[in-house]
């Protein structure tokens, strides 16, 4: 049972505020991904939970116990580092057994756990090797096995796949998901890769400039971004945005067409739509195709509307050439609105 509660955590490095009062609750056995661009504070938050960094303010609770004043070894956590941090002077076996020996577990129990985690991570045949004799992917497996062998309440992962090549990353991603689901451990996983985040997470916390902008399920984050930043950060290609002005009858005028929208205090809103939620039909935005990229399943068309870039992912049967004029109709239930002043969803 290890629910994690983060209460008002703030961290400053000198004059630089890395984290502004973070509040977050992570349920027992939940897979939480902290997602954000580099420098957004996600790794700092993870290191504060691990006890490798001291918060300037706030509290961290793990399993109903306040831990923010405790050293890492007393927090019931295990961590997987970006550069693996496999001890080079020890064999794989000794690496996995390291924490268990520190806990002074009986030898049969150590053997049992080493064997079990080594099998789980498919590194049984590497137990006698040193880290210098392993590939990056194998080192990563050792690092995960070493963390799992601790049977911690919480596993913390700091960009564990970012040093692997693309194919290996894909393979390890699926494997990690299976292994961690089986271990029933609460997991916090830091990444800047949105595909990784979407595919692994029960819940994603999107972070920007030291704040959590939105914490929700991957689909919710994708469909209903709480802020303009989330819409533009998640999704490839990202969301399209167009300015909207209120018409006298209380509706919104967007690039020449009129749409129903929320009532806003200010007279301005921003219209947003995902590129795949557009169809070619009469009565839509008047767009000029600039670049056409057939991708097989879909065709990505980059157009220009009123001088602004606007992307559409269309069925690959649609024949479009650069320079063509086309009318793009947004799916009404997929339209989102943002307040340009607060950049929050309206």
């Amino acid at each position: 049972m290890a629910e994690i509660q983060i209460k008002g955590i703030a961290k400053s490095f000198g004059a630089f505020k890395a984290l502004h009062s973070i509040d977050l609750t992570i349920a027992d056995q939940e897979f939480m991904v902290l997602l954000g661009a580099s420098g957004c504070g996600k790794t700092t938050l993870l290191r504060i939970i691990a006890g490798l960094e001291t918060p300037t303010q706030g509290e961290v609770w793990i399993g109903g116990r306040r831990v923010d004043r405790l050293p890492p070894r007393e927090r019931g956590i295990a961590m997987v580092f970006q550069n693996y941090a496999v001890f080079p002077h020890l064999t794989v076996l000794e690496n996995i057994a390291f924490g268990l020996r520190m806990k002074k577990l009986p030898q049969p129990e150590i053997d049992r756990r080493v064997t079990r985690t080594a099998e789980l991570m498919h590194i049984e045949q590497l137990l006698a090797r040193y880290s210098g004799q392993l590939s990056g992917g194998q080192r990563q497996r050792v690092a995960v096995a070493r963390a799992l062998a601790m049977e911690p309440d919480v596993i913390l992962m700091d960009e564990p796949l970012s040093n692997l090549d693309a194919l290996l990353r894909l393979e390890m991603r699926a494997e990690l998901k299976g292994v961690l689901a089986g271990s029933k451990t609460t997991t916090i996983y830091v990444t800047h890769d949105q595909v990784e985040a979407m595919s692994l997470a029960d819940r994603i916390s999107v972070m920007n400039a030291g704040r959590i902008v939105q914490a929700a399920s991957p689909v919710e984050i994708y469909r209903n971004p709480a802020a303009r930043f989330v819409g533009s950060f998640i999704g490839n290609p990202p969301m399209n945005f167009l300015p909207a002005t209120r018409t006298p009858d209380g509706r919104w005028s967007v690039a020449g067409i009129t749409l129903g929208g929320p009532a806003a205090a200010s007279g301005k809103l921003e219209f947003a739509i995902r590129p795949e939620d557009l169809t070619v039909a009469a009565g839509g935005f008047d767009a000029v195709a600039r670049v056409v990229e057939p991708l097989g399943a879909h065709t990505l068309v980059t157009t220009e509307i009123d001088g602004a870039l606007f992307r559409a992912v269309l069925d690959s049967d649609v024949r479009i050439n650069p320079g063509d004029r086309l009318s793009l109709v947004p799916k009404p239930d997929r339209i989102r609105w943002f307040d340009p002043e607060t950049s929050l969803a309206a």
């Binding site: 890492p72 070894r73 941090a85 001890f87 601790m150």
Partner: protein, 282 residues
């Protein structure tokens, strides 16, 4: 098209003119000779009998006669001076690593106010010429009773060796990723346990090298040793003192006894010497 234009094309480096090649090799030979010739004379004379040392013509290959070395070892005071040299060098080694390694660790792991200034100041201790400091130090040592002691001399040698100890250990500690220590902390270690179980095994070869270097600095040092000791002379000071009055073969044997250990030690730890200058120590 003129000949000059034809000739003016880039040529591969392998086709450098023979004059350039000669210059290159002459430079190499000169540098090697500068280092090797004195060592050769030292060794070949130390390994010759006392009679051969003063005779003429010379043989290129020494006779491997141990007469000179035997004479040197049985010469009054040599063994005591040798013993003093070893004691002072070992003390210097312990003191400079004892103080230098923690400083190196702190420099590599912590950010603190005045860190850069400290790194510079550590080197600045070498900016003061020893002859300038020798007299005040001698006076001070007499006052506190450290004059003519092995510990007193070791303290002076430590100040000479410590900049190197700090800089070498700094680069060695910096070569151990901090994540390894952090991983050890999350795996149940406190700071000291993480240091002992993870950092220490990884830095031990480098620390040993740094210690040997400190040993060599003390072993070779002659000025402070000559000024600060009277009865407890180290080998360097002893030889300096008896240089004028001793026969030629004694000087050669003594010189060899000083140079050989230093040479062997430096050769053994050569790759860590580069680490000091910031070149990767792998």
């Amino acid at each position: 098209m003129t000949d000059a234009a034809l000739a003016d094309v880039p040529r591969p480096v392998s086709e450098v003119t023979s004059a350039g090649k000669v210059l290159y090799w002459a430079g190499i030979v000169l540098l090697c000779a500068w280092v090797l010739v004195p060592i050769y004379f030292l060794l070949s004379n130390a390994l010759s009998s006392p009679a051969e040392v003063t005779s003429f013509p010379k043989h290129w290959v020494p006779s491997f006669d141990m007469g000179s070395l035997q004479f040197f070892l049985s010469f009054g005071g040599v063994l005591k001076a040798l013993m003093n040299s070893v004691i002072v060098a070992v003390l210097t080694m312990i003191l400079s690593i004892g103080f230098g390694a923690p400083a190196g660790y702190a420099l590599s792991r912590f950010d603190f106010w005045g860190k850069d200034a400290f790194r510079l100041l550590v080197l600045m201790t070498r900016a003061f010429p020893l002859p300038l400091l020798a007299l005040p130090i001698a006076v001070m040592f007499i006052r506190v009773g450290l004059d003519d002691t092995q510990l007193g001399l070791a303290l002076v040698h430590t100040t000479l060796a410590i900049p190197f100890a700090v800089l070498i250990t700094f680069s060695i500690f910096a070569g151990v990723p901090v994540e390894l220590e952090e991983a050890a902390w999350t795996l149940g270690c406190n700071r000291w346990q993480a240091f002992r179980k993870v950092v220490l095994p990884l830095v031990l070869p480098g620390i040993t090298a740094s210690a040997i270097f400190a040993f060599t600095i003390s072993w070779n040092e002659v000025f402070a040793a000559a000024v600060l000791t009277v009865q407890n002379r180290t080998l360097t000071a002893f030889l300096l003192q008896s240089l004028n009055v001793s026969p030629l073969h004694l000087r050669f044997a003594g010189g060899a006894a000083l140079v050989i250990p230093a040479l062997v030690f430096i050769f053994a730890v050569r790759k860590y010497m580069f680490a000091m200058w910031g070149i990767a120590n792998r």
